[in-house]
């Protein structure tokens, strides 16, 4: 087993919390067929490990968690998305109204 990632590296792990079929009884039928996933938790590698292999991390709360090592130095990718075309002209519309009322020049 390759152990490419050094102990102490900031990483992210994945684990299935409840397998399909063991989910809450009130969830719909189609949801029963998929697992409840702890898709991501970040922490520092407790021992050297390889991507895609089982690994243990120490989280910022000091807990030891086990799961599959899925990312090293995980990136935040969320953004603000594309501008909404309908809103692009709203600023000048508002200015026109306020100008007519004399509250701005």
């Amino acid at each position: 087993m390759a152990e490419g990632i050094a102990k102490g590296t900031w990483v992210e792990i994945y684990r299935i919390v409840l397998p399909a079929g063991e989910r809450a009884p009130q969830v719909p039928e189609d949801t029963q067929h998929v697992p409840l996933e702890m898709r991501r938790v970040k922490g520092f590698l407790a021992a050297p490990a390889a991507l895609g292999e089982e690994a243990e991390i120490v989280t910022p709360a000091g807990r030891c968690l086990r799961g599959t090592l899925v990312e090293v130095n995980p990136v935040y990718t969320n953004g603000f998305g594309s501008p909404i075309p309908k809103l692009s002209a709203s600023g000048s519309e508002v200015r026109t109204i306020l100008r007519k009322r004399g509250s701005i020049r």
Binding site: V17, L18, E22, R23, A24, P25, Q26, V27, T31, V34, P35, L36, E37, M38, R39, R40, V41, K42, G43, T59, P60, A61, G62, R63, L65, Y76, T77, N78, G79, G81, V94, I97, L98, K100, R101, S103, I104
Partner: protein, 222 residues
């Protein structure tokens, strides 16, 4: 998480776990079959509004500016009937330390957690409250775990929740990002059971009391 307990096993212990994690037994407040004595529940916390204000001030929470939105008022009057159109103000709660009014609620929760001697706090939330709890925990020097329902059934992260993940982690919290499902509460209970942390849920009397200061401030700034 070392737990291997099934959903049913953990949910069956729900009342006991909540009691241990809050130092509070909700059962004593039940009245009849459906109701419970809300006023007595809040009174028993021992915090009045002035005390809540004082607790919040210690971490620069509250006392946010009340700002008149003159342009918005003018726009409303452009479409209102003559003589109508109230002046519009905003209580700028983004001026709180973590950027929302949820700091008010988290401040009281964390104050209580520290008072009762807990080592850390846990909370199940995907929004601003998580950031508020993580921020307040950092200030109080307590550990913090936030459980989020962060991904849809296709594994796509919801952007507004992803942003709260970032905020919570920046404040030093452990963030458990789950796929969608009501078992969020199950995972939260497992975390409380394993860590014996304080339950900083939005729906405890402490977190509820924390918001009362918002109304008081608004009235006083008239």
């Amino acid at each position: 998480m070392t737990k291997k307990s099934s959903y049913q096993e953990v949910m069956a212990q729900r009342a006991e776990i909540v009691k241990e994690s809050l130092g509070l037994d909700y059962a004593q407040y039940t009245v009849g079959v459906l109701a419970f004595d809300y006023e007595r529940l809040l009174a028993d916390t021992g915090y009045d509004v002035e005390t809540a204000c004082a607790v919040q001030r210690r971490t620069a929470v509250g006392n946010t500016p009340l700002v008149e939105l003159e342009n918005i008022t003018e726009l409303v009057r452009a479409v209102a009937r003559p003589g109508k159109g109230s002046r519009i103000f905003v209580k700028d709660e983004a001026a709180n330390p973590s950027g929302s009014f949820k700091d008010r609620r988290a401040a009281l929760s964390l104050h209580e957690a520290k008072k009762q001697g807990y080592d850390g706090v846990a909370v199940a939330t995907s929004g601003n409250y998580g950031a508020a709890v993580a921020s307040q925990a950092a200030k109080a020097g307590l550990r913090c775990i936030v459980v989020q329902e962060a991904f849809d059934s296709h594994g796509i992260a919801q952007p507004e929740i992803a942003e709260k993940t970032r905020a919570c982690e920046a404040y030093g919290a452990e963030v458990i990002r789950l796929s969608v499902g009501p078992e969020l509460f199950y995972v939260f209970l497992c975390v409380l059971q394993e860590t014996e942390y304080f339950n900083a849920s939005l729906y405890t009397p402490y977190a509820i009391l924390g918001i009362e200061t918002l109304g008081c401030e608004s009235l006083r700034s008239r």
